[in-house]
């Protein structure tokens, strides 16, 4: 029996836009167990990013409850969320978001610094080999292709040995070939190390390769048919 690491009940996030309330995430119930590989799909504005932000402890929740590693996140003050994220959750973004002034390996070292973990160069070199970037560790982001940058970002997320990975459209800025390559890295890590991965994507071909797909629409979980997407 595997552990539930994320448990959401009636999870809701409301944004106020002018006088209007936007229910970006609207009463979602969700259990994610250790080792899951989950794809979030749904049309633009359906709440994928918002849900990932909540699960990733990047944002405060409006109502409902959310437990991450058994901790009730709704009770944690926004300023204390960083303590939950640090060293436990890995993030990968659509536009990579590397620090432009730092080389590939320095970007990864910085995340270890923030996580208060040792910066072991040997281990890092191995990690870079795992993501297929062994030869480019001393290059600056601007000297790399999109696919290569995303590999650095994955290395950055993995370096701190997180308990799960959150990837928001990690292939959104990549061509078909690199998209599949990047997706394969996720699959490999999930299979070989059992790392939990929650990934949002617009690409049904990639999404279908995940263990589970969760369809969202208007901030709610819906069936594949209801998602009216595909």
């Amino acid at each position: 029996m595997k552990n539930t690491i994320i448990k959401a009940a009636e999870l809701t996030k409301v944004y106020i836009r002018g006088t209007e309330e936007v229910y970006a995430v609207n009463g979602i119930n969700l259990d994610i167990t250790d080792g899951d590989f989950i794809a979030l799909m749904g049309p633009s504005g359906s709440g994928k990013t918002t849900l990932l932000d909540l699960i990733g402890c990047l944002d405060s929740i409006s109502s409902g409850s959310l437990e991450v590693f058994g901790k009730d996140v709704s009770r944690v003050k926004e300023s204390k969320l960083v303590g939950l994220r640090r060293g436990h959750i890995g993030f990968i973004f659509q536009d990579f978001l590397l620090i432009p002034s730092l080389t590939a390996i320095e970007n990864v070292e910085l995340s270890l610094y923030f996580a208060r973990k040792p910066q072991d160069r040997k281990k890092l070199v191995q990690l870079f080999e795992k993501v297929g970037l062994g030869h480019r560790i001393n290059h600056l982001p601007k000297e790399m292709s999109g696919g290569e940058r995303q590999r650095v970002a994955i290395a950055r997320a993995l370096a701190v040995s997180p308990k799960f990975l959150i990837a928001d459209e990690p292939t959104g800025n990549l061509d078909t070939k690199s998209s599949q390559e990047i997706f394969d890295i996720f699959k490999n890590i999930n299979k070989s190390e059992g790392l939990t991965i929650i990934l949002a994507t617009h690409n049904p071909k990639l999404g279908s390769q995940a263990d589970h797909i969760i369809y969202l629409k208007d901030g709610k979980v819906v069936s594949k048919e209801e998602s009216s997407l595909y």
């Binding site: 960083v82 994220r85 640090r86 993030f91 536009d95 978001l97 002034s101 910085l110 923030f114």
Partner: protein
């Protein structure tokens, strides 16, 4: 990787902008250091000038005290004359330790300053002159052979400038008398270096002021008796008494009003530099919104972000401080040259003295400037919320 290397690499990314900001700080610090250096140097030279006079009190003919103070430092009294019998009357006073009569005279020398012409200074002195200035040493030659001898002793600089040595004959322009140089003083860093000394009686004859003096230098046995001594001399007609402490005060007063202005210039320079630094760092914080957001997402605390930005600002100011100190050290001579031409009274010696103390102080000033300038941008950066920062950057 640590905060320092992140901060340094960020600064290196925008080289021109960083260099300009550092330059602004450097200029402010250079101005500050130069002013402090001037303050120190001026006081020091002035003290040296005054101490090396050997007397604390000067009796001169009545006149404008400011003019007298200035002229006196340039050679011992305003060019107003008093009768020699004043000297005879007061020299017997029991409170006096040492006393010496002086007669300052000037002559226009058309050959001076490479033919542009200038004033040469002469001073008639008596044997007692040396007792007031026991440190005076001869570089060559010796004292006058007789109080009526047509002889001259030259200050170090005039001798150097006119290329004179002992035995040479000199002519005082406009007076048809030829004098023999019998001695040359060693350099002592005061106005004396630029004066040609004659026996008092000879000077009185050549400059056609028989039985006249321009000043009497007095050293009292006890400085505490000064005010009583001054009071007693009130009855002497046509003279005034200037104490050197008073002169120093007067000159420092003249200089301090100029200093107040330059200090405010320095303050403005510092304020402008601080605003420049704050502006630059704030700009770069806003440019890096999404970077800061992602750093927070991957685990940077508020304090981490605060420190990165703070360190960046402090680096800029430290670089600026070091550069400013170097600029001040290199530019000191130029500033000295300018100051000498505008000051009401410029003592001999270095006007701008930049001590290690000043350098240390200005360096720490720059560090503090950085720490203060960094507070607000660092606060802004550390207060950004991660998701908002990431989305704003998108």
């Amino acid at each position: 990787m640590n905060l320092f290397s992140v901060a340094l690499k960020n600064l290196a990314r925008k080289k021109v902008r960083t260099a300009l900001t550092v330059g602004g700080v450097a200029i402010a610090i250079a101005v500050l250091v130069s002013l402090w250096g001037f303050d120190t140097g001026y006081q020091r030279s002035l003290n040296n000038d005054i101490d090396k006079m050997g007397y604390q009190v000067l009796v001169t003919a009545k006149g404008c005290p400011y003019e007298a103070a200035t002229l006196m430092l340039q050679g011992g009294g305003g060019l107003r004359y008093m009768n020699e019998d004043v000297y005879k009357r007061i020299s017997g006073d029991a409170r006096i330790d040492k006393i010496t009569p002086q007669l300052v005279a000037t002559a226009y020398d058309p050959g001076k300053q490479s033919g542009r012409g200038g004033i040469s200074l002469y001073m008639g002195i008596a044997d007692s002159y040396l007792t007031l200035k026991p440190w005076s040493k001869f570089k060559s030659g010796k004292w006058f052979s007789d109080e009526n001898a047509l002889e001259a002793i030259m200050g170090y600089e005039v001798a150097e400038y006119e290329q004179r040595s002992v035995g040479d004959k000199i002519l005082i322009p406009g007076r048809n008398e030829i004098l023999t140089v019998v001695g040359i003083f060693e350099r002592n860093g005061t106005q004396d270096d630029g004066i040609v000394f004659l026996p008092l009686k000879v000077a009185q004859k050549i400059f056609e002021v028989p039985d006249k003096l321009t000043g009497i230098g007095i050293k009292l046995k006890d400085m505490a008796q000064l005010s009583k001594f001054e009071e007693d001399l009130y009855n002497e007609p046509g003279i005034q008494i200037i104490s050197l402490a008073q002169v120093k005060g007067t000159i420092l007063n003249l200089v301090s009003s100029a200093k107040a202005m330059t200090n405010s210039v320095a303050l403005i320079a510092v304020i402008i530099a601080v605003i420049g630094v704050v502006n630059t760092i704030l700009m770069s914080v806003f440019e890096r919104t999404s970077e800061i957001g992602v750093m927070k997402a991957i685990g940077a605390s508020r304090l981490d972000i605060f420190r990165i930005i703070w360190v960046e600002t402090t680096f800029i100011c430290v670089f600026g401080g070091v550069l400013g100190n170097i600029m001040a050290l290199l530019g000191g001579k130029t500033i000295e040259y300018i100051l000498k031409s505008v000051l009401p009274y410029a003592p001999k010696g270095h006007l701008v003295v930049i001590t290690p103390h000043i350098l240390t102080l200005s360096f720490f000033g720059a560090v503090i400037m950085g720490l203060v300038a960094g507070l607000y941008p660092a606060f802004r950066a550390s207060s950004m919320k991660p998701i908002e920062a990431i989305r704003k950057g998108e």
